[in-house]
């Protein structure tokens, strides 16, 4: 699932994204042919929030300390720009040795033979160190093409003042007591009744590449996007109808800002920090920026609603090496190093993200922002099932996402009927998976 956000803070991302479109300005840096010391140099292109950037720099410094004479060139680009750049660089043969990619996009590269097959560097035992669902997320046709570096998921943050105003006195404090859809809807309606017209009960984080996060609703209703063997669509089901009708209702009943649909250019957490909504569905990676940006109200967090079951989105990112990396051994060595327990726990604690190593799952990480609510996200992540992961990381997702976005947009903002929307999504899934 595409984890969007992180680097765009302050709109800088859009600026740079379009700078890349306006010309070739974005295609510089991080290339294989930009000098350097040849075989002992690795170029690594990534995006990152300030906290993630610091995490990467610390990891790189430790790697250099452990391998003398090795140089790692870190090239930080905005999230919106990175894959356009990487695609162009791969075509031009100037791609970096290593880059960061989300689990929903990795398939677009691994299935097109653009990434380094890590089978020879990571044996079965090395793979078993990772959570099975995460190790599965980086595979294509049974071979690993990256390492799961971190994961994240969404939960709800809410404003305590607006909740009090609306008379909502308790929020779920455990996964088992998470709101059902009906309870969630009742809370939203209660808020609608007490809020002035320009404020909204909540905002969902499906903007700017986040449209696959809609699938959390489908999974909660116990529906599937693909059939069992991932060869065709399975969204035209009762669960699909229920999930789409429920989410379409957010817009028709004025529960979310009308401008917060999947094509909006404003992130959900930005709307929340601007004080325009009482709740927001956000990924844990935005917690550091929420903590820094929100000064005029208090906020807490709770779990995603559940229907037939709980579910949330599979966020997070893998680190991959390109097929033509100058020094594949060194690149694989770096990937191994960055996913050592020590490096991973430091990175995750700093950036408020969740580890992918089995050995770290039950360890309390030293979270540096709002440790009081970090646990909610850690627990929420346990609602992601292997069957969800398998669908979310299918290489076909990269082709399906634009249609998913268009069709959800049509349903949310143009009143396109539920059946028609599902049929169109199903057609795209059939075409991409078949």
């Amino acid at each position: 699932m595409t984890i969007s956000r992180r680097q765009i803070l302050g709109g800088a991302g859009l600026l740079a994204a379009a700078a890349a479109l306006n010309g070739c300005a974005g295609f510089s840096g991080g290339g294989n042919n930009n000098g350097g010391d040849g075989d002992n140099t690795l170029s690594f292109t990534t995006w990152g929030s300030p906290a993630e950037e610091e995490g990467f720099r610390r990891g790189i410094d430790a790697f250099k300390a452990a391998n003398s004479g090795v140089e790692v060139e870190l090239n930080l680009v905005p999230y919106e720009q990175i894959f356009t750049n990487i695609d162009a660089q791969l075509q031009a043969g100037t791609a970096p040795d290593l880059f960061r990619v989300d689990y929903g996009t990795i398939g677009a590269y691994s299935s097109q033979d653009q990434l380094l097959d890590l089978s020879t560097y990571f044996d079965t035992a090395a793979g078993e160190e990772f959570l099975p669902s995460m190790w599965q997320a980086i595979q294509f046709e049974g071979k690993p093409f990256g390492v799961p570096h971190q994961t994240d998921t969404s939960a709800i943050v809410y404003r305590t003042d607006l909740f009090e105003q609306a008379g909502i006195t308790s929020v779920p404090d455990s996964l088992d007591s998470a709101w059902t859809w009906d309870e969630f809807r009742a809370v939203a309606e209660q808020l609608r009744g007490s809020l002035p017209d320009e404020l909204y009960p909540f905002v969902y984080n499906w903007q700017l590449g986040g449209s696959p996060r809609w699938l959390s609703w489908l999974f909660q209703a116990d529906g599937r996007l693909f059939n069992e063997d991932l060869t065709a669509s399975a969204i035209e089901s009762d669960a699909g109808m229920k999930a789409l009708a429920f989410t379409q209702g957010f817009f028709t009943d004025n529960l979310v800002p009308p401008s917060s649909s999947v094509k909006s250019s404003t992130y959900a957490d930005d709307a929340f920090s601007a004080g325009t909504t009482a709740m927001a569905f956000v990924g844990n990676f935005v917690l550091p920026s929420l903590d820094a940006d929100i000064t005029d109200f208090k906020w807490g967090a709770t779990y995603m609603p559940r229907d037939e079951r709980g579910a949330s989105d599979l966020g997070g990112n893998a680190l991959v090496a390109t097929k033509n990396a100058r020094n594949p051994e060194l690149a694989a060595e770096f990937l191994k190093f960055m996913t050592q327990p020590e490096q991973m726990s430091d990175f995750c604690a700093r950036a408020m993200e969740l580890p992918t190593l089995k050995s770290l799952v039950d360890t309390e990480l030293d979270y540096q922002t709002r440790p009081d609510i970090a646990g909610i996200f850690v627990e929420q992540a346990t609602t992601i099932e292997p069957s969800d992961v398998e669908q979310l990381t299918s290489p076909a997702m990269a082709t399906i996402n634009p249609t998913l976005r268009d069709q959800l947009e049509a349903a949310f903002t143009q009143g396109q009927p539920v059946e028609e929307t599902l049929a169109k999504i199903a057609a795209a899934v059939d075409e991409a998976a078949g």
């Binding site: 709109g11 379009a18 894959f83 094509k263 404003t266 082709t399 903002t413």
Partner: protein, 321 residues
């Protein structure tokens, strides 16, 4: 004597001799000058031709090739002939984007011409502080298109934008700038006009300053009102500027991208999707670069045809100016 004769003869010879030589030199000099002039002109043209060839004609030819191929997202994989173009014909989003582009052009071009001329007339008069105003109006043109579009977001964001805050502050309801197609389209047009009017104004100012003041004096003596002076003197006399701006503005409108990409990303739904944003989406989001190239070629052809028609219709006017 003989010496004299010989000297005279010699001098005659000497006198005669230079004549054909002079003629010859003069002829060769003219040729050499022409040759040098040709060389010099190529010298001046060369860098431009190389740049144009490298960054315009080569990519254009390449795009044409790619549009006849199939794309895997990482380069073309095989020839498919006209398949991409056939797909275009049956693609409703392509047609909606074409209609949106046409509507956008039909609205923005006349408006930006009219506003540009109006402002130019104003700035050409004895308006106090006109230098400051000229700079302010031209400023959006100087700033990066993305930066101005981001300012557009600050102004028109539905929940946090300045315009809606002002409307709500004045007791009115905010407008659905992102959630309703027409309002979104209007916000794009407003920002486009804001960006473009400055350029039109400057071109018109230059045109206005070339008009002799005596013409206005004569018109006044004949009893022409200000409106008549504007309608029958100013408007026809800035004709060459209008012709130039019409072509520039139409091309600009057909190629609009950054404003829409940043402000609405083509939404809500497809209501602000234009040809270039649709081509981008196909090329870089769906990773179908061949289809995107086909859309690019269509944009190129439409622009080319329009410019050719304009050029034919206005050739005399261009030279008259």
């Amino acid at each position: 004597m003989s010496a004299d004769t010989s000297s005279r003869e010699g001098s005659t010879t000497e006198l005669k001799a230079p004549l054909p030589a002079t003629t010859y030199t003069a002829r060769s000099g003219r040729a050499a000058t022409r040759h040098r002039a040709t060389l010099a002109s190529y010298g001046f043209l060369g860098p431009n031709l190389i740049l144009l060839g490298l960054f315009l004609f080569l990519p254009l030819g390449w795009a044409l090739l790619i549009s006849f191929q199939e794309s895997s997202g990482f380069g073309a994989t095989g020839w498919v002939g006209l398949e991409n173009y056939q797909r275009l014909v049956g693609d409703p989003t392509f047609w909606q984007s074409t209609v949106n582009t046409a509507v956008f052009t039909l609205i923005t071009v006349p408006l930006s011409l009219a506003l540009g001329l109006g402002l130019a007339v104003l700035m050409n008069s004895v308006l106090p502080g006109r230098k400051l105003f000229r700079t302010l109006i031209y400023l959006p043109m100087v700033i990066s298109g993305v930066a101005t579009a981001l300012m557009g977001v600050l102004l028109f964001d539905e929940s946090t934008g300045i315009v809606n805050k002002l409307l709500r502050g004045g007791g009115l309801a905010g407008l659905p700038w992102q959630s309703e197609g027409t309002a979104a389209f209007i916000s794009i047009i407003l920002v486009t006009l804001w960006i473009r009017v400055g350029f039109n104004m400057v071109i018109y100012l230059a045109g206005l300053q070339g008009i002799s003041p005596e013409l206005y004096e004569a018109a006044k003596l004949e009893g022409a009102t200000s409106w008549q002076q504007f309608r029958y003197l100013t408007v026809p006399l800035v004709g060459p500027s209008t012709f130039f701006l019409l072509i520039m503005d139409v091309i600009y409108s057909f190629q609009v991208f950054d404003t829409i990409f940043v402000m609405t990303a083509g939404g809500p739904g497809r209501s602000t999707s234009v040809l270039v944003t649709y081509a981008y989406e196909n090329g870089f989001v769906t990773r179908d670069q061949s289809y995107a190239a086909a859309i690019g070629i269509v944009i190129f052809l439409i622009t080319l045809i329009f410019t050719a028609i304009q050029w034919r219709g206005n050739r005399s006017r261009d030279t008259a100016g």
